[in-house]
Amino acid sequence: MELTGAQALIKSLEMERTEVIFGLPGGCILPAYDPLLDSSIRHILVRHEQGAGHMAEGYAHVTGRPGVVMVTSGPAATNLVTPICDAYMDSVPLVAITGQVSRAAIGTDAFQECDTVGITRSVTKHNELVMDPAELPLVVRQAFHLATTGRPGPVLVDVPKDVLTSKVEWWWPTDDELLASLPGYRPNTRGHTRMIREAARTIVAAERPVVYAGGGILRARAAEELAALVELTETPVVTTLMARGAFPDDHPLNLGMPGMHGNYTAITAMQEADLLIALGTRFDDRVTGRLDGFAPGAKIVHVDIDPAELGKVRRPDVPIVGDAKTVIAEITKAVRALLDSGEATLPERAPWRSRISGWQERYPLHYDPPAEGDALKPQRVMEALRDSAPEGTILASGVGQHQMWASQYWRFNEPYTWVNSGGLGTMGFSVPAAIGAKVGRPDRTVWAVDGDGCFQMTAQELVTASSERIPVKIAILNNAYLGMVRQWQEMFYEERYSEVYLSPDLPDYVKWAEAMGCAALRVEDPDEIQPAIDKANSIDDRPVVVEFRTDASEKVFPMVPAGAANGDVVVHPTQAAESRKVVQ
């Protein structure tokens, strides 16, 4: 069967069971938009290509399937760089199709030409410029394979316009042909048997173990296996920002989020542990704080699909390369074998548990309740959103203070319900990512918690949401500031505020949201919080934006200042004052 390259491209995407493409057409990709009209694939027309990328990420976060983006060359491709890098940092499976100028024009600075594969080389797992039309189906198949296996990530396929218009004989590569075409790509998913036994022995010998669970648990769909290991070994768990939901927050062994704005107990338990069982995580600096002060007495069992993560930051005592789902199940089996055979018994965990509950009692998450007439407390808004959220609600967030409050105050009891930009920390992530999440899980309520600064970066995608009837809900925590930066200037630059003020009224978020086809509400009084949230939850025929006017002076606590060790975590001033009283 002879097809045009464009038809072959769309057919290849269909073969990969693509249900939706987020994109925006233009000159070089034009030929591909024609066969799209006849395809079963849904296309969502975005207002900015960055939005398409984050939508695809949001879709991937909640479905576990690769998000697909299609845009044209030049400025469209460069607009995609931010979400591609975001997906790279957070190992999100993404397939990006970009148009390119015709082969003969490449290298001539043609109209809308840019070196897309060059620009994206360091932020993709792999990318490919398709010069041979006959290779198109293979390259697409490779892209999906690479994006979704091993350590997932973004893969970009750059397609010259004349490749799309040339004739190709249709073929679809077999599994064998696919593997033969990637001789250097053989991710190792099965852990080393001897290392797995060693991990089991190390775990049963530990007196103060902590499971340090990362986003890899979610990528590997290993939440059940994690729960089984934790329960068998009675090991407390911390879930990083990327792993929220990988282990239920309401489980007594869940200590919450570690790291720069993690809670005191999660941070301190890691510091005091004699063993960290690091699963699908990469010892990010936002988790470890100053490295030479991080978990000084802990042995490390480190499981990761990416061999380069083992020993990159901290040398593990027991390194295991493999897929978290398989390896964790194997470790659990090995631990059970040790316990059943009587070869080992778990040490008494009660002393460790009681130290942990001591920290939990003394340093719970805290904010001072508002005095009469105070602006809204952002934490209070988060609690209200959480408590009113329908079962199974998916939460997305932007980047800043509101993100930390979202992670701290939400209760994640189910995996794949948290959509977040962790590694890159991309302001503007939440609105498009929430839209993509809702496209992937239309059966779920999707809330985005956004900052006023973030919202202004990608709000235009609410036009996309309105016109495509994607009823997401956005809560703007409007503190009139680039709040997280303001917090740093307050604490570390003697309150010298430089370029962080945004104004509460400019723009008028309600009018803006309405102009974009959304329902819009503004909340200024604490008594209005609940009714507004109830109203928002009841609207299901269009996007809703609720603007909460929050207290600009609120800061995120606890905090490990940049460059400090986790042992020097700063707790909320009220708690600090109380503990001084205790000491006196």
């Binding site: 594969v117 060059g118 080389r121 360091s122 797992k125 792999h126 410029l129 010069m131 690479l146 990637l182 001789p183 250097g184 790509y185 990416d306 061999p307 380069a308 020993g311 990159k312």
Partner: protein, 175 residues
């Protein structure tokens, strides 16, 4: 200068456009330093071989190897410590050699087993292939005559072969 700190990575890659940029880009982005780099086709046209020399005091060769392996087009990597490798490099140099100095220069080239590849009225161009350290020595000895141009290729390497047939080996690794 070649020292025991210089390890050689031989990297077998798919022979596709952009592979050099991927490898070079990786080294730049991760802050790994390359001492020398040689790229050449192999006996199988589908693959090329990069021979990369790195200073292991500056960067952990394990991280370099693991990061390189993440490149989809990288098929195989062998890391060779100087003692485990047979290494060769090619040197070409144009040396001042007027009537007075010419015979001395030629003698030096002879001693090192090199050759004269071009002769001008007051210069000769010489070539020498050999172990990098020998090339260093030659370079040092010929320098006083005056070097106007010098090029070295960067080294290529093969793993040293087993000296003993397997059944004669008393101890040793399985591979």
């Amino acid at each position: 200068m070649r020292t025991p700190h210089h390890h050689t990575l031989t990297v077998l890659v798919e022979n596709r456009s952009g592979v050099l940029a991927r490898v070079a880009g990786l080294f730049a982005r991760r802050g790994f330093n390359i001492e020398s780099l040689a790229v050449a086709p192999t006996d199988d046209e589908r693959f090329s071989r990069f021979t990369i020399v790195v200073d292991v005091r500056e960067t952990d060769p394990e991280q370099i190897t693991k990061q390189l392996f993440k490149l989809v087009n990288v098929v195989k990597i062998t890391e060779l410590a100087p003692a485990d490798a047979v290494e060769r490099e090619l040197l070409l140099a144009t040396v001042t050699a007027d009537a007075e100095a010419r015979s001395a220069v030629i003698e030096l080239v002879d001693i090192f087993g090199g050759g004269i590849v071009d002769v001008g009225w007051n210069q000769v161009s010489v070539m020498l292939a050999g172990e990098p350290a020998r090339l260093d020595d030659f370079e040092e000895l010929v320098r006083p005559y005056g070097i106007t141009e010098l090029q070295r290729t960067g080294r290529v390497a093969l793993a040293r072969l087993e000296r003993q047939a397997p059944r004669l080996r008393t101890t040793g690794k399985a591979s």
